[in-house]
């Protein structure tokens, strides 16, 4: 065992792999952060659609959620990797393919979180809002969603951790994230044990840090905002 390989390639692994500064369009965080934000936006629409009274709105949303929750993420990534070039007639950069796949896939899981969050708001709030004369739209916007969002925060953080770990799968289409960066270094240095253990520790630091924060929010019942 020789951990000098980590010190020698530290800046490549961290800057290129984890954050995304460097000669490759890569980076774990550069993929995970936009993916969670866009996925949450799409997930909110789908989650709201699932709660809609009109069945032609709620049924497609339910099918969307059930479909993507029944298919492996690897499969979804391959779908976009192969289908986008066929549809557009030209290939797109890995970053774009990976981001699209993650947003579409995670939206299914985030939609369930949004739905659970909205359903966690007590019924009396809806009744009180209706009694004050609010229409359904403003009621959602000013009464339900602000409370629901607050209830969702621990689950959203947990989902972000899942997403952060899942971004490692973007490496299978050649996206240079932390895992791919370790593979690149390993191809040159042949130090698999040290390198993979090192990135395991980095992933662990990121997700354990966030999950303890989420747990603290959950146990104190306090909200971050």
């Amino acid at each position: 065992m020789d951990f000098r390989v980590i010190a020698d390639n530290f800046s490549f692994l961290m800057l290129q792999g984890l954050i995304g500064f460097g000669s490759f369009a890569g980076g774990t965080l550069r993929l995970a952060l936009p993916a969670i934000v866009l996925g949450f936006l799409l997930g909110t629409f789908i989650g709201l659609a699932r709660l809609a009274r009109l069945s032609w709105v709620s049924v497609p949303a339910k099918i969307y959620v059930e479909f993507f929750r029944g298919v492996p993420l690897v499969m979804v990534i391959f779908w976009f990797w192969f289908i986008i070039p066929t549809l557009l007639g030209r290939s797109l950069p890995e970053y774009f393919v990976a981001l699209t796949a993650f947003v579409i896939f995670e939206a299914a899981y985030l939609a369930e979180i949004v739905r659970a969050g909205i359903q966690s708001v007590p019924r009396g709030q809806v009744e009180a809002a209706t009694a004050t004369g609010l229409a359904r739209g403003p009621m959602m916007r000013y009464v339900i969603l602000p409370q629901a969002l607050r209830n969702m925060i621990p689950a959203l953080l947990t989902q972000f951790i899942v997403l952060l770990k899942d971004t490692s799968l973007a490496s299978i289409i050649g996206y240079v994230d932390l895992t791919k960066a370790a593979q690149i270094v390993n191809n040159r240095e042949i130090r698999p044990f040290e390198l993979y253990l090192f990135i395991a520790v980095i992933y662990w630091l990121c997700s354990y840090g966030m999950s303890s924060y989420a747990r603290r929010l959950e146990s104190t019942g306090q909200s971050a905002v």
Binding site: F67, P72, M75, F82, I161, I172, T179, P192, L197, A200
Partner: protein, 241 residues
Amino acid sequence: MNYQFAWSVLWSGQTGAWLLQGVLVTLQISALGWLVAVVLGILAGAARTAPIALLRWLAAAYVEFFRNVPLLVWMFFWYFGTPPLLPHAVQEWLLDHSAEFWAGVCALGVYHGARFSEVIRAGIRSIPKTQFEAAVSTGLTVFQAYRLIILPIALRLIIPPATNETLNLLKNSSVALTISVAELTFQTRQIETYTAKAFEALAAGTLIYLALCLAIAAVMSQVERRVAIPGMIARGPSGEL
């Protein structure tokens, strides 16, 4: 878009056999990984609630380390990282006996074991403490109380979340393609490579995964109904929100 659909690629030539083989390998690696995961999960889950601090600490360390690192990294770690540390004879043996498959089983089992243990811990926590106290007061040792009273109840209570976790494991077995285990996703890609019919190949793979997931969910809900403890599980149409 000028894509020519040719669904016949899925059953002409070798592709049908490839898909079937892929399904078999997926089921094999998932089943073995599941066994490892359940055993580790029960041990770690029980240890995390045990009245012995060292056990709790060890189990927590295992769970927190393994579930917070991506499965893909574990695949690489077990497949590329650990064999060089093993004795030479073991390395030789592994090379002859599909090392990638066993690395995949290890990765899936150890990763999902950590996740299973959380499910089992939650199940044990949901049992009133008085059950444990009553068991110990009848003269059972702590180990006996877990084996005869706590675990049999907890394992039946956790069937819904455990089913969820089982489906996750099945879907995650697709990650094993990165260490060239010839499972379903791997075969799907192989068909795509040989026939250049991406859409058909991916559709076939996707539908098979969906069918497997639905089948497992259906079987488990039957099991759940059969082993339900009357009065302990509120289930039915009102159970779903």
